[in-house]
C-alpha cells in the first residue's frame, strides 16, 4: 500500500451500456436469472465507498504460480507456459495499490477441476486452476500459468468457449467489486462466443483481450500476455457538501 491518505470519494457512476445487459438471450442462462425491474439508483454512501482489503501477508509463496501451486514435488502442470501480467488502474488512470486479484481457469485441455465439469478431456494431476495475488504500490500484478484450452458447453448445439481466464477483482470499495474474463489475442472463437457477445461494444471486447507481449516473455521458459484491468474511478471530495462523520 502507498503512504497516500485513503480516498473517501464516491465512485463514478457505472456505464451500464458498456457492461453487458442482464438479459442477453443468446446466453440462455441469463433469461431466467436477469432482473426485469429497474435498478434503484442512489449516490454512494459509506457502505459502498468502503470495502475489504487484503495484505500481501496473507499470500502463500506459490499463490501466483498455477504451474506449481497444485503440482506434486518436482513436477509441473502440462501446457503452454505463460506469464500473465498487467496493471490494475482506475478510470482516472491511477494505479490501484494493494488490491486482491483472484483467477481461475480450465487446464490446457479445457477441463476444470470441478465436480460439475463432465467434459471428457482429462484432468491434469498437477493442475488445480486457482491463483491469487495482491497488486504492488503502483498497481502492477503478474502470475504464471498454462494457457487454458477452449471447451464445449451446452448453450447452442455446438458452442465452444474461447480460451479464457476468469478474474475476480477487489478495489478499495465494495462498489468497485468486479468479476470478468480475459481472452487471448487472435483467438477465432472470441467473436463467436455468446458470453463475449453479451457485450455490445467491440471496443469493450478488445478491453478484455490480452495482447501477446514478447517483451515480457521468459526466454526458453514462458510466453507472456499483458492484461490491464480498470476499476471505477473516484470523485474528489474537495467540493462535496458531505457531513463527514456523525
Amino acid at each position: 500500500m502507498s503512504n497516500d491518505a485513503p480516498e473517501t470519494g464516491a465512485f463514478f457512476a457505472r456505464d451500464r451500456e458498456w457492461h453487458p445487459k442482464p438479459l442477453t438471450p443468446g446466453y440462455k442462462t441469463s433469461v431466467l436469472r436477469s432482473p426485469q425491474k429497474a435498478l434503484l439508483s442512489f449516490d454512494n454512501t459509506i457502505s459502498e465507498i468502503t470495502g475489504p482489503t487484503f495484505g500481501h501477508s496473507m499470500l502463500g509463496e506459490l499463490d501466483n504460480d498455477l504451474i506449481h501451486n497444485f503440482a506434486r514435488n518436482g513436477e509441473s502442470a502440462i501446457g503452454e507456459r505463460i506469464v500473465v501480467h498487467g496493471r490494475l488502474l482506475d478510470e482516472r488512470g491511477r494505479g490501484v495499490a494493494g488490491a486482491l486479484l483472484e483467477f481461475w481457469q480450465a487446464n490446457a485441455g479445457g477441463r476444470y477441476r470441478h465436480k460439475r465439469d463432465g467434459y471428457l478431456a482429462p484432468l491434469d494431476p498437477n493442475f488445480g486452476g486457482c491463483g491469487r495475488t495482491v497488486t504492488d504500490e503502483r498497481g502492477f500484478y503478474a502470475f504464471r500459468t498454462v494457457r487454458p484450452g477452449p471447451y464445449p458447453w451446452p448453450n447452442g448445439p455446438n458452442e465452444w468457449r474461447p480460451a479464457h481466464i476468469h478474474f475476480s477483482v477487489f478495489g478499495h470499495g465494495f462498489a468497485q467489486r468486479l468479476i470478468t474474463q480475459m481472452y487471448f489475442e487472435g483467438d477465432p472463437l472470441i467473436a463467436r462466443c455468446p458470453i463475449v457477445r453479451t457485450i455490445n461494444d467491440p471496443a469493450a471486447i478488445c478491453q478484455l483481450t490480452a495482447a501477446l507481449d514478447m517483451n515480457a516473455t521468459v526466454p526458453m521458459d514462458a510466453l507472456a500476455y499483458k492484461f490491464d484491468i480498470v476499476l471505477r474511478g473516484r470523485r474528489s471530495t474537495l467540493f462535496e457538501n458531505r457531513l463527514e462523520g456523525n
Partner: protein
C-alpha cells in the same frame, strides 16, 4: 470541439460462470492444499464485539428454482457502525470483525449462510442515519454483472421507515423484498431474481 476527457473505461463485466468456486472458494469445491482456508469463510472470532446473528437464504430464478451455483458476498459495519476499511475515516473498526464474508450456495439446496454480528447504523452522505443493513453482492452463471442489494432487519421498524435508501423505493410494496425474516438470532432472506416478488437491486 473541446479537449478530450481522457478517462479510461471500466473493464466490462463477464459472468462468474458455474465454476466460480475454483477461484474464490477452492476448498469448498474440493481443491485442497492451495490455500489454508477459503477467504471470507469466517467473519467473527471469540473476541468480536456485538450480538451474534446468523443470516441465511436462497437465490431464486424466474421459475421459482433456487440457484445452486451462486456465490454471495456480504459487507457490513461492525457493532458500532464502523467499517473495517482504509476508507473509514470516522474511527477504528473492531479489529476482530472482518466486515466481509463470502459463501457459496449449497450445491443441493441452494441455501447460503453467514455467521456474523448485528451491524450498527451508519450515516447517509447528508448526515441522516441509515437503518442497520448488510450490503450484498451476488454472482453466478447467467448473471452478466454482479447484482447489488441490501438486507435490513424487521424489528427496526422506525429506522427502516426513515432510511434514506428504503425511502427512495417508489413502489412501497417492494420495500419488504429488502427486509429479512427473523426467528430469534437467525434471519432468513430469499432473493428473487425476477418476477412478481423480484428483489430490489441497487445501482450503486
Amino acid at each position: 470541439m473541446a479537449q478530450p476527457l481522457d478517462y479510461l473505461k471500466e473493464s466490462p463485466s463477464q459472468t462468474a460462470g458455474p465454476y466460480v468456486h475454483i477461484g474464490c472458494l477452492p476448498n469448498f469445491c474440493g481443491i485442497a492444499g492451495v490455500y489454508p482456508a477459503d477467504l471470507g469463510h469466517s467473519m467473527v472470532n471469540a473476541r468480536t464485539r456485538g450480538e451474534r446473528i446468523t443470516l441465511s437464504g436462497r437465490i431464486i430464478d424466474g421459475t421459482g428454482t433456487p440457484l445452486r451455483d451462486a456465490m454471495v458476498e456480504i459487507w457490513q459495519a461492525d457493532a458500532a457502525g464502523l467499517y473495517n476499511s482504509p476508507s473509514e475515516t470516522r474511527g477504528t473498526a473492531d479489529p476482530d470483525f472482518t466486515g466481509w464474508g463470502r459463501q457459496a450456495a449449497d450445491p443441493e439446496t441452494g441455501l447460503w449462510r453467514f455467521e456474523t454480528i448485528r451491524p450498527g447504523p451508519v450515516p447517509f452522505p447528508d448526515g441522516r442515519l441509515q437503518a442497520p443493513h448488510i450490503s450484498v453482492w451476488i454472482v453466478a452463471r447467467g448473471i452478466n454483472l454482479g447484482l447489488n442489494t441490501r438486507i435490513y432487519f424487521p424489528e427496526n421498524e422506525a429506522a427502516n421507515a426513515a432510511d434514506p435508501v428504503l425511502s427512495r423505493i417508489e413502489h412501497k410494496n417492494r420495500v419488504p423484498t429488502l427486509i429479512a425474516r427473523r426467528d430469534g438470532a437467525a434471519y432468513s432472506h430469499d432473493i428473487h431474481l425476477q418476477g412478481d416478488a423480484e428483489t430490489v437491486f441497487l445501482d450503486i
